[in-house]
Symmetry: C2
Amino acid sequence: MGITRKTKSVKSVISIFENNSDAQSVVHLVDLLKREMNKTTVYRILERLENEKLVHSFVGKDGLKWYAKCTDCCLDEHKDIHPHFQCKDCGKTQCVKQEITMPLLPNYQIDTVEVLFYGLCEQCSI
Amino acid sequence: MGITRKTKSVKSVISIFENNSDAQSVVHLVDLLKREMNKTTVYRILERLENEKLVHSFVGKDGLKWYAKCTDCCLDEHKDIHPHFQCKDCGKTQCVKQEITMPLLPNYQIDTVEVLFYGLCEQCSI
DNA sequence: AAATTTAATGCAACTTAGCTGCAATAACAA
DNA sequence: TTGTTATTGCAGCTAAGTTGCATTAAATTT
């Protein structure tokens, strides 16, 4: 289980995340890579990269799946509380590098807390 | 603009939320009401109820759209920070009645913060 | 209480995200 | 160089959500 083969397609997907720290919607990635590989391949590579914990995924305000590289936003593996920001204007989506504290829910067993900030990014709020 | 006509279908949808404080996925509502009305009607009624601020919507962990009645979870209109909980086992989804404080993101203009707790509910964590 | 207006609905067809099965291809180890 | 098998392409599928348009039925007016 995991990325055992470094194929041309896998390298291609990885390089996108290396050259841009923003999160990427799958839809965007499929479009970006449509000349290089099949959409099914994109879906499957992303799934493998996530298993390998090279990227992590979350659901955007639009209900689409987004992926982002795992770096300083989640140093010690996949932390439970990992906020993301999505710009309602330009669509820019990124990891929020900020600690967040959450209240406990008594009698509940919480695995993850997804936090999505939605609004205008630095560029679009000028 | 808004709910101008109290049709049989509108009353039917509203009564579901009145008889159950849990959030409802649109998929579930469409199925629940399939004998009474067309799925397009369900989608359109929910849209109108949301405009009227009788219900509010959010995206679940699965990317599906969920609706919940606006009551004590959002007394003073639609507050920015309004957490929801979704059970990974039974699917039960509900508003979390708890205040949450969020850090400010400098230079960003945040409209809403979606917080989704994901894990096991009281029943399923026994 | 009929006529009128127009919001609401049903229907059928469409769009799009994401998934599946299987045959063909290409990493990589021997 | 060959053999094994992970990976990919392809075609077709599923399911959520949307759209246009003709029809129906609330609510208002006469």
